[in-house]
């Protein structure tokens, strides 16, 4: 027993091979879940389709070719700091001929324990006629009563000129959302004119809107030198 205090693996030798295997598998499971801050293994009811995933990965890689340095101004991860890359696909809410509502959900574990380094919203547009098409984008934060407050998240304008993917920096918006303890990012897209306005591809699986984010595990006692 005294030796086991010093050598955690010593006890394994005394176990039968089957028991030893069971202990190690249990240890591996526990270790992975605790490092991912998950209380239990996630139950996946609606896995993202392969088409949507591959398109998203191609888009991200097209913007950041292999071997490129991180964007200027982004802090490098320190020793032992855990980084996450997150792909969140939109769930479509109510929509009209002029507006679309998108929802992105982030888990409590990520929202509560990470800081956002970079986040980009990817939207695929089909443009029926050439020219500039202005689109208003509103970020809506849920209020405590379960409703939404459009004022909470800010508003921005996007100009769409041709078919294809458009990107928007949403790093600060998600960081603010996490700071307020939120887990759901709601986005309302509104086109100006009804005729000849660009269409957002939301139902085509390989053109599903998504957010690609880089986050870092928040260290409780970070000391900064001024």
């Amino acid at each position: 027993a005294a030796k086991a205090v010093w050598c955690p693996a010593c006890g394994l030798a005394a176990l039968t091979p089957t028991t030893r295997r069971d202990v190690l598998v249990a240890l591996a499971k526990q270790s992975i879940l605790s490092k991912l801050h998950l209380p239990d293994r996630p139950n996946i009811t609606q896995p993202t389709s392969r088409g949507a995933l591959l398109t998203a990965l191609r888009r991200i890689h097209a913007q950041q070719p292999v071997g490129t340095a991180p964007s200027p101004g982004l802090p490098h991860p320190g020793v032992g700091e855990q980084e996450y890359e997150i792909l969140s696909f939109a769930e479509t809410g109510s929509s009209t001929s002029r507006s679309v509502h998108l929802d992105f959900h982030f888990t409590r574990e990520l929202a509560g324990s990470t800081e956002i380094l970079q986040a980009t919203l990817y939207l695929f547009w089909a443009v029926p006629s050439p020219g500039m098409h202005p689109i208003t984008i509103r970020f809506v934060h849920p209020d405590p009563t379960g409703g939404t407050t459009p004022e909470g998240g800010g508003e921005t304008r996007l100009e769409v000129q041709r078919d294809g993917w458009a990107t928007l920096d949403v790093g600060q918006t998600i960081q603010n959302l996490f700071k307020q303890g939120g887990q759901r990012l709601s986005v309302e897209l509104e086109v100006m004119e009804e005729q000849g306005s660009p269409l957002l591809a939301v139902h085509n699986d390989s053109h599903r809107p998504f957010v690609a984010a880089r986050a870092r595990a928040r260290t409780p006692h970070r000391v900064q030198r001024r």
Binding site: L12, V25, P42, L87
Partner: protein
């Protein structure tokens, strides 16, 4: 570090692979297919303390000094990981988002006596 062989009794690295399919985790972990966990096993006689792997470390030097100067304070040498690397995971989280992360110090690459 030394990898364990059939008749080895001294400190070595035992390979251990957890297949995610076998434990029913392949539905939420997209990549890799398993976890090369590995662990350290075997004996560390006192004369082997500090080798291999930690011979030049400050802690080994301090422990050896304590042992040399005070027999009562001597501690048993222990077979522990001396080199580890991260485990890269691509997985679905509870909201079906796809997350990629490197969990540090998860794979035992080498073992040695403290």
């Amino acid at each position: 570090g030394i990898d364990c062989s059939g008749d080895s009794r001294t400190c070595c690295r035992e390979e251990f692979f957890v297949d995610f399919k076998e434990i029913g985790w392949e539905d939420w972990i997209i990549q890799p297919e398993g976890y090369h966990m590995n662990y350290c096993a075997g004996l560390c006689p006192l004369h082997m303390a500090g080798i291999p792997g930690l011979a030049s470390s400050f802690h080994t030097a301090v422990l050896n000094l304590i042992k040399a100067n005070n027999a009562d304070a001597a501690v048993d040498s222990c077979c522990v990981p001396t080199q580890r690397r991260p485990l890269s995971l691509l997985y679905y989280d509870r909201d079906s988002n796809i997350v990629k992360t490197d969990i540090p110090d998860m794979i035992v690459d080498a073992c040695g006596c403290t």
